[in-house]
């Protein structure tokens, strides 16, 4: 009986996490359109609801109501499978991120952990599920039976494999400092010193490498070669329409959110807010609330960075992209690991 309740509680937690994430993602899309509008000296969508607040729901309604066109010569099964894989792989990583510390509901003794699952290899789980996401894009490109789609899919697969190495290596420094792969423990290790114990201060090079590789992993500007519209129409999702296109769109934004959360968790101290412990005291309801809001603000900062980059940077050429990944980022990541290992060996007490 207890296991049944446990499973039901886990399902409830997963549902809540998914709904919150999807809401944030929906408003990221709106924020992107408004901020891009601001950067380019125009207004952006501001008609549906107050200041465009209901625009994401209008978009969703339109995606659902549009005609779903399936190319005649496509490989049906794979064509339908691809957006499902992309979205599923993007959503599956949500369960390991600690959104905040344990929150105790006021006047009761009930505590709610703001994380769905804590297990030993959480970080490797994130990397593994992310690497499954490549299939969504590669298979979409192949099954559409369209040369632009195929080019987009191939480019994306090559790019994601190349940058996955640099991404994985940039995390090694943090793992060496923390001595664990469990994200909750990594966050707890970064508390104290009024925010100066965040791993970004010990791993500045690793942080920059992670940020660059993560942008490439999510196929965003300036690494959005898989959907370079001047060369490839729309890249791997050229033949996708209506809700299937929306799923790819959703997967891209969830991936943005995921890598932002990982950056926050590993480098910016997760839910640790400087001085929050001194003011509210550990374990109180306000402390939990402030920490969760702090986590959210850090993630939103990264999302803003993404949009900012999209508004300002031009796109790489494909050979530049490959050269940058293999000849600059990968050696730099190895160098960062070497320096970290040497410092840990010399000053084991720090």
């Amino acid at each position: 009986m207890d296991t049944a309740i446990d499973i039901a509680l886990k399902f409830a937690a997963i549902t809540v996490a998914f709904v919150v994430v999807l809401l944030i993602v929906a408003y990221t899309v709106l924020a992107e359109r408004r901020i891009l509008g601001f950067i380019q000296g125009r207004l952006g969508p501001n008609r549906v609801g107050y200041g465009g607040m209901l625009q994401p729901f209008a978009d969703l309604l339109k995606f659902i109501l549009k005609e779903d066109i399936v190319p005649d010569k496509s490989t049906r099964f794979v064509y339908f499978l691809a957006p499902v894989i992309a979205t599923m792989a993007a959503l599956m990583t949500m369960i390991v991120y600690p959104f905040g510390p344990e929150i105790r509901i006021p006047f009761t003794s009930i505590t709610i952990p703001l994380v769905v699952a804590r297990f030993d290899v959480a970080l490797l789980y994130v990397l593994g599920v992310t690497s499954i996401g490549v299939y969504g894009i590669a298979l979409a490109g192949w099954s559409s039976n369209n040369k632009y789609s195929l080019m987009g899919g191939l480019r994306s697969a090559a790019q994601m494999i190349s940058y996955e190495l640099a991404l994985g290596l940039s995390l090694i420094g943090v793992i060496m400092l923390a001595g664990t792969l469990e994200l909750g423990r990594i966050v707890e290790l970064q508390s104290g010193w009024h925010g100066f114990r965040w791993f970004i201060f010990f791993q500045p090079l690793g942080f920059l490498i992670y940020l660059t590789a993560a942008i490439a992993e999510t196929n965003r500007v300036p690494f959005d070669l898989p959907e370079a519209e001047t060369e490839l129409v729309a890249g791997f999702h050229t033949e996708y329409s209506a809700m299937k296109f929306a799923l790819f769109f959703l997967a891209e934004y969830i991936n943005m959110f995921t890598v932002s959360m990982l950056a926050t968790t590993l480098f910016l101290g997760g839910w640790n807010v400087p001085f929050a412990e001194d003011i509210f005291g550990r374990g109180t309801f306000l402390f939990g609330l402030v920490s969760a809001i702090g986590f959210l603000l850090k993630v939103i900062f990264f999302l803003f960075l993404y949009i900012w980059l999209r508004g300002t940077l031009p796109r790489f050429r494909f050979d530049q992209l490959m050269n940058f990944g293999w000849k600059i980022l990968l050696p730099l990541a190895l160098f960062s690991i070497f320096i970290t290992a040497t410092l840990i060996f010399l000053f084991p007490n720090l």
Binding site: F77, D120, V121, G128, V134, Y135, A138, L139, I161, E164
Partner: protein
């Protein structure tokens, strides 16, 4: 609960494995193989080996199968046709091998009388990351290093194969990393399709090694 999950993932693995063999379209086979790997990872989790499970997904499902799918997409492989005549001698061999396998499984089932599901709580920290690192770098250091050298050999072999010229004349020296230049670039008297392998980076260097004085003036040809 544990038994239920085991049956689920075991059935999934066997089903996907059958699909790998049965599918005519190579891409469907590849997708089924990914399914096999992920089901196996789930079984590893149930056997209290989360690290192996994660590595299984990252390495096999995430890296190796991406390359396989990549190759299938690039080569544009069509659906396989039935080739009865060419594979005829394989059928008796397959039957014999399958019989041996079934005999082995039967022997295992008969000889191991005390046969039950061992709960994963028995050995909690064998498959955990913390216990794998020290074991790998102390007790199993030699096998670990030998495996690394094996992988290094594979990389060197791949490089040699990739950089070797494709059509070599019978008396050619094969040097890893050598460049293949048509002789007509350096020698005006050579036939245009004469190829000779020379360890050189530029046409000038090739001409010096071959002992040819006059470089062909490319602009004069036009």
């Amino acid at each position: 609960m544990l038994a239920l999950l085991f049956i689920l993932f075991g059935a999934l693995a066997i089903g996907c494995a059958l699909a790998v063999v049965a599918q005519r379209n190579p891409l469907y086979s590849a997708i089924s193989l990914i399914g096999v790997f992920i089901s196996l990872a789930c079984l590893y989790v149930m056997l209290a080996a989360p690290f192996i499970a994660a590595v299984q997904v990252i390495v096999y499902a995430g890296a190796i199968m991406v390359l396989v799918v990549f190759v299938i997409m690039l080569l544009n492989v069509e659906q396989e046709e039935r080739r009865r005549t060419r594979l005829r001698f394989l059928v008796p061999t397959a039957v014999v091998l399958a019989a041996i396998l079934i005999a082995e499984v039967a022997f295992m089932l008969v000889s191991v009388q005390d046969f039950r599901v061992i709960p994963s709580e028995g050995a909690p920290d064998i498959g955990v990351t913390h216990s794998i690192g020290p074991a790998l770098f102390t007790h199993y250091l030699l096998p670990f290093e030998i495996t690394s050298i094996l992988l290094l050999m594979a990389i060197v072999g791949a490089m040699t194969l990739a950089r070797r010229a494709r059509l070599l004349p019978p008396n050619a020296r094969v040097v890893p990393g050598a460049q293949q230049l048509p002789l007509s670039i350096v020698d005006p008297n050579a036939a245009p399709d004469d190829l000779r392998v020379v360890e050189a980076d530029t046409a000038d260097e090739a001409a010096r090694i071959l002992g040819i004085k006059g470089l062909r003036n490319q602009s004069r040809q036009d």
